[in-house]
């Protein structure tokens, strides 16, 4: 049953009729069609569904990277679906950590500088920035790779840099769109264990995946189908039906 339908002040994510249409010439692609979803603080949710079901589109709206065509979205009780470009930039900077399938690191910058980036835009001084970035890199086990640039790191290491970067601002919400999509199964497991640990310490996490064993690491699964929520259940309960 999860959190579906329940309205709570505690909710970190609350969407109402969240919709995204893409107009391509005469054709309109209805990628997300009115999603109502509540995610509480401290949850670990996996969003699943077949390719093209609207997972990434939904995630981008949740991550304030994209704005909905229709519907509302409250992040931490704040209505963010109507915010301006720069206000959204600030929300992304302070409240959201995003991990991408393709890592999206700056190739010419060191791991340390990559992790520092969100802090630079938050206006934090260099000494404090360095301290926090090093702390997070050590957390993900890359204390000895801080001076390396992304091309000198393995895929798993790059994704761990990205995770450190997503965590460096102490975000209320950690989002990851297929974070293991470009990694082998062993490395994927390491990343997911990291996520589980973070969640145990109270970090709210939402990931997109289409792999069931990855989704098993989460505590709740939300299945999308053609831009709708098809199923929404807690993992312990759903294990047998999955």
């Amino acid at each position: 049953m999860g959190g579906e339908g329940t309205v709570s002040d505690e909710a970190i994510i609350r969407t109402q009729g969240l919709t995204k249409h893409y107009v391509l010439g005469a054709e309109t692609v209805r990628a997300v069609r009115g999603v109502d979803l509540v995610i509480e603080r401290g949850e670990f949710v996996a969003i699943m569904g077949p390719s093209g079901s609207g997972k990434s589109t939904f995630m981008n709206m949740i991550g304030c990277l994209d704005t909905p065509t229709e519907g509302q979205y409250w992040l931490n009780g704040q209505l963010v679906s109507d915010l301006s470009d720069d206000q959204l930039a600030r929300v992304r900077n302070r409240q959201i950590g995003f991990v991408f399938q393709t890592f999206n690191l700056l190739p010419r910058a060191t791991a340390l500088h990559n992790v520092e980036l969100p802090l630079i835009y938050a206006g934090i001084g260099s000494r404090e920035r360095r301290r926090r970035a090093m702390e997070k890199l050590e957390l993900v086990g890359l204390g000895d790779r801080m001076g390396h640039k992304p091309p000198e790191l393995s895929g798993g290491q790059r994704q761990r840099v990205a995770v450190a970067r997503a965590l460096v601002n102490e975000p209320a919400l950690l989002l990851a769109d297929e974070p293991t999509g470009n990694l082998d199964s062993e490395t994927s497991g390491e990343i997911m264990n990291q996520f589980e640990q973070l969640n145990e310490q109270g970090q709210t996490i939402v990931i997109v995946t289409h792999e069931h064993d990855i989704a098993q690491h989460a505590r709740r699964q939300v299945h999308l189908h053609d831009g709708h929520i098809a199923r929404d259940f807690l993992n312990e309960v759903a294990e047998s039906t999955a």
Partner: protein
């Protein structure tokens, strides 16, 4: 975003494409170099003109014959006679120091040396007017003018022309001017050139002697020079000369004057026109190169924005505001242009030096001009960097992240 980080990122981007960056700034370099050269030439010319005016005398008015009119129709060149000079001296009541000038290029001979030299028939006042100094002997006096004496004062270069004879040795010697013997009584100190006047190469004799003994009795003056004590008196002198000569020439009120009165600055103005043409040419080059250079900067910045679309997407996803992105790219454009500006100043300085060495043009690079040129290149950077920076700032984060 902190300013320091923005500058570091911009510098990093320039350094990452160092060859491209240098090539891009070439237009700015040439433009600024042309500006600096132009200003250096202008300043140099200004300084030289001022020096020449000083050398020609700031209080000297030159009166030349003009056009003669009869019922509105030109009847050719008017004449100025010795009577005019006498009238100016007598009637200006001490306001003016006056000397006529009657000159001709003649053959000068001394022993076995020959030279073609400008002979100037003047009054003793002439040396006063132009503040000539002697290095040997004496000037001639009014009595020698009255007596039409055959005495000559030589310009600074003549001892050398006449067989490298020391000035002291020349005093008392006889030289032939068109075969007529003259006694050398003085040699002038060095004066230097002033526009088309080269006193160092001239020989000065009493005007009356020149008129009656050398130039065949014609009393047609080339010029009359009139000097005042102070520059403040120039306006009054101008009016006074006009009044006296009009009466001498029996001109009716309202009739055009048949003479021209010029001060030193007027005389130099025509002389410096050639320089101005060159300055205009440089201004043209500067304008065109700065425009082309600016467009080049805009082009490379657009390329840079496109190439780094993904980077922009990443930065925006992590919380960069429009302003932060805009500043980053503006600083990059600014940085490129200021580098171009500095190189341009160096190149312009070099070009100005070369012009001084090769063409003997006076140049002077003013520190203010250097500051202004670098400031101007920065303005070019801001102007032409604005549009690409805006494009970067307005990119949609999702579209930018998806860009391959």
């Amino acid at each position: 975003m902190l300013v320091f980080e923005i500058v570091m990122v911009a510098m990093g981007a320039v350094r990452a494409n160092i060859l491209r960056s240098v090539l891009t700034t070439l237009g700015i370099v040439i433009g600024i170099a042309a500006v600096i050269t132009m200003v250096a030439l202008g300043e140099g010319a200004q300084e030289r003109v001022q020096a020449e005016i000083n050398r020609m005398g700031t209080t000297v008015l030159t009166i030349r014959p003009g056009q003669q009119f009869s019922m509105g129709v030109s009847r050719g060149d008017a004449e100025m006679s010795i009577e005019d000079a006498i009238a100016l001296r007598v009637e200006s009541e001490g306001l003016l120091t006056v000397s006529p000038e009657q000159s001709s290029r003649l053959q000068v001979a001394y022993k076995r040396w020959n030279s073609n030299t400008q002979i100037m028939g003047v009054w003793p006042e002439y040396f006063d007017i132009y503040n000539h100094q002697l290095q040997a002997g004496r000037f001639f006096n009014q009595g020698e003018v009255q007596g039409r004496r055959r005495v000559a004062v030589l310009g600074y270069n003549l001892p050398e022309t006449l067989g490298d004879t020391p000035p002291e040795v020349l005093i008392g010697e006889t030289i032939q001017l068109r075969g007529i013997p003259f006694e050398v009584i003085g040699v002038l100190a060095e004066k230097g050139d002033a526009a088309f006047i080269r006193p160092d190469d001239q020989i000065f004799v009493p005007q009356s002697t020149a008129q009656y003994r050398v130039m065949g009795g014609r009393d047609r003056l080339g010029s009359i020079y009139a000097a005042t004590e102070t520059t403040e008196q120039l306006d009054m002198a101008f009016a006074e000369i006009d009044r006296i000569l009009r009466r001498e020439h029996r001109l009716k009120a309202g009739e055009d004057a048949d003479f021209n009165i010029r001060n030193s600055a007027d005389l130099l103005a025509t002389f410096n026109e050639t320089n101005q043409t060159f300055t205009m040419l440089l201004a043209g080059i500067a304008g065109v190169s700065l425009l082309v250079g600016g467009i080049g900067i805009m082009n490379i910045m657009l390329v840079s924005v496109t190439e780094r679309t993904r980077e922009i997407g990443i930065r925006k996803a992590l919380g960069a505001t429009r302003r932060a992105i805009m500043t980053q790219f503006l600083v990059e454009a600014l940085f490129l242009c200021v580098i171009g500006g500095i190189l341009g100043v160096a190149a312009g300085y070099g070009a100005a030096e070369m012009m001084t060495r090769i063409a003997q043009w006076d140049t002077s690079v003013a520190p203010g001009a250097v500051g202004a040129a670098i400031g101007f290149s920065a303005a070019v950077g801001l102007f032409f960097g604005m549009w690409p920076a805006r494009r970067a700032a307005l990119l949609d984060p999702i579209d930018a992240l998806r860009y391959e």
